[in-house]
Symmetry: C2
Subunit: 297 residues, 2 copies
C-alpha cells in the first residue's frame, strides 16, 4: 500500500510478542498499517525488549490494560493462554473492536475466546501458516508472511466488514487469504503441521535417549536427514504443547493413520518386499513437485 | 591442493554417475585430482549426458570395460547393484587397484563386493554423508562434500596406504574423514539418516492416500512443516529401497524404538499430560543447538 493511504487501524494491541507477534509488529510499523501498536508480554523483560527493538509504542505485562482504545486486538500467545486472556480483556474492549489471533488451532479459539466477548465486538480467528524454529521478539522479521497463506475461520454470523478488515491487514503483510470452517482447518493442519512436528519431536527424542557415545555421533553425522528434523523439533515447546492439547482428536486420528502406514513399511522391510518400498517412494516424489508448482517449497 | 601437485590417481572409474558420482567427477575435474575420469552409467542416455556435461573423459554402459587400467574404481550406484557389478569387474581389475563406493550402508559392501576382488586389490568402502533431494548427473555440484563427513569402513587387514589414498581424495573434496567399524556405521546411520527418510516417506505417503480434496489442501498449506518432509521424501526411490533392504536389522530396531516413543506421546496427548509433552519438547531443542555448534546445521 502507498504510504499516503490511511492506516487500516488506529490502535493495534498484540498480546504476546514472540516470533509471529514481533514479525507482525515489524510489518505494521514498516508499512504504517496502524497509527499505534501496543503489546502485552508475559514478562517484564520481553516487554522491555519489544520497546528497545522499537517494535511497539507501548509495552507492558497487563493484557487487560493493553486493549484500552484498541480497534484491533490480536492474541499472539500460545493457544492455552487464550481463555484466561479473553476473560481479562473482554470487559475492557472498545465497542466495535475486532479480536483476532494467530494460533495454529482454530476451534478452541471460538470455544475459549468467543463467550468472553461483549456484543458489538467481532471475533475473526486467523492462522498465518508461516514460521521458523526461532522464538521471541528478536526472531521476527517483516517478510515472514510474504507469499504464505493466512487462514481465517470466522464463526457463523461474523460481521463481514470485520472479516474484510482482518483480511486486508494480512494481505498488506504479503499473505494470501483463505477462509475455512474451523473444524476443517484443524483437520488439515493436523496433517500439514501438527503431525510433522510431533514426528520430528519423537525422532529427536528417540535420539536423545540413546547412550551418550552414540548420541554424539548422531549429532556429528546429522547431515544425512536427521538435522532437518532437529530444526522442526527446535520450535517453541509451550506453543506446541498447547497445540497438541487443543487439537487432540484430529491429531490422534492422523497419528493412527501414520502408525498403520509405518507398520506396513516396517513389514515390507522385514519381508524384503522391495517392490512395495519402491512404489511408495516413487509416489511420494510427485507430491514434492506439486508443492514446488504451487510455490510453497 | 595446488594445481602443480601430481594428481592423486591416474585413472578413476565411476560406476554410476548420479548426484554423488557426478559431484565427485566435477570436483576431481575442477581440482585435477586424477589424470582421467571414466564412467559407466546404467543407460546410454545417462552416459551421453555425462559426456555432454563434460564430467568425464569416457562414458559407456559397460561396468567391466570401464575399470580397465583404473587405479581407483568407485561404485556410485544403488547398493543393491553392487554384487552384480563386483562379479563383472572383479576379473578385470588392475593389480594394485583400489575399489571404493559411496553407499549409505557399509556391511553389505564388504559382504557383496569383498569376495569378488582378486588378491592385490584393496577394498575401502566409503560413505560421504551429504546429499540433496535431486538425482542424476545434472544434479551434482563440486562443493557437495565441503565440510561434510566421509566415513571410511575398511575391513580388517586392508592396506593402510590404500585407506590413506581414499581419505586423501575425500579431503581434497572438502570432506572430513572418520574411520568406523562397518556394523557400527550401519547402526548410527540407521538413526541419523535411514529412519528420518523412512518417516518422511511414511508421512508423505499418509498424505498421498487422503481423499483428493484434502490432498490439494495439504499441498497448499504445506509450509507448516509438511513441506520439509516432502523434500526428504523426494530422494531417489531405488537408492532408498536398496538402503532399507540392506540395513534391515538396524532399521527395524530403530523403528521399534521410535514407535514406542510415538505411542508414549500419543498417550500423553490423549490423557492431556501437558507436562510430559513440554518436557520432551524442551529436551529436543538442545540437540539443535549441539548440531549448530558442530557446524553440521
Amino acid at each position: 500500500m502507498s504510504s499516503s493511504a490511511a492506516p487500516l487501524f488506529e490502535r493495534v494491541a498484540l498480546i504476546g510478542i514472540g516470533l509471529i507477534g514481533s514479525s507482525l509488529a515489524r510489518r505494521i510499523r514498516r508499512d504504517r498499517l496502524a497509527d499505534a501498536i501496543v503489546c502485552a508480554a508475559r514478562s517484564e523483560a520481553t516487554a522491555a525488549r519489544a520497546l528497545a527493538l522499537g517494535l511497539v509504542d507501548q509495552a507492558g505485562t497487563d493484557a487487560a490494560a493493553s486493549v484500552a482504545g484498541a480497534d484491533l486486538v490480536i492474541l499472539c500467545s500460545p493457544v492455552g493462554t487464550y481463555a484466561e486472556i479473553a476473560a481479562a480483556i473482554g470487559p475492557l474492549l472498545k465497542p466495535g473492536a475486532i479480536v483476532s489471533d494467530v494460533g495454529s488451532v482454530k476451534q478452541c479459539v471460538i470455544r475459549d475466546v468467543g463467550p468472553c466477548l461483549p456484543d458489538g465486538v467481532s471475533l475473526v480467528p486467523a492462522h498465518p501458516v508461516a514460521g521458523t524454529e526461532h522464538s521471541g521478539p528478536d526472531a521476527g522479521f517483516p517478510e515472514l508472511f510474504e507469499g504464505r497463506w493466512c487462514i481465517l475461520t470466522p464463526p457463523p454470523g461474523t460481521d463481514p466488514q470485520a472479516i474484510e478488515r482482518v483480511a486486508a491487514l494480512w494481505r498488506c503483510c504479503g499473505a494470501l487469504i483463505e477462509v475455512m470452517e474451523p473444524a476443517h482447518h484443524d483437520r488439515v493442519l493436523a496433517i500439514t503441521s501438527h503431525l510433522p512436528h510431533l514426528i520430528a519431536y519423537t525422532i529427536v527424542g528417540t535420539a536423545v535417549d540413546l547412550e551418550e557415545a552414540t548420541r554424539s555421533e548422531v549429532i556429528k553425522f546429522s547431515a544425512g536427514g536427521f538435522r532437518d528434523f532437529t530444526r522442526i523439533a527446535a520450535s517453541d515447546p509451550v506453543m506446541w504443547r498447547d497445540i497438541f492439547l487443543n487439537n487432540r482428536e484430529a491429531v490422534l486420528e492422523i497419528i493412527q493413520r501414520f502408525s498403520e502406514d509405518l507398520t506396513a513399511l516396517q513389514r515390507a522391510i522385514r519381508w524384503g518386499e522391495g517392490d512395495k518400498l519402491e512404489e511408495l517412494f516413487t509416489r511420494t516424489r510427485a507430491i514434492r513437485r506439486s508443492i514446488i508448482d504451487v510455490k510453497q517449497a
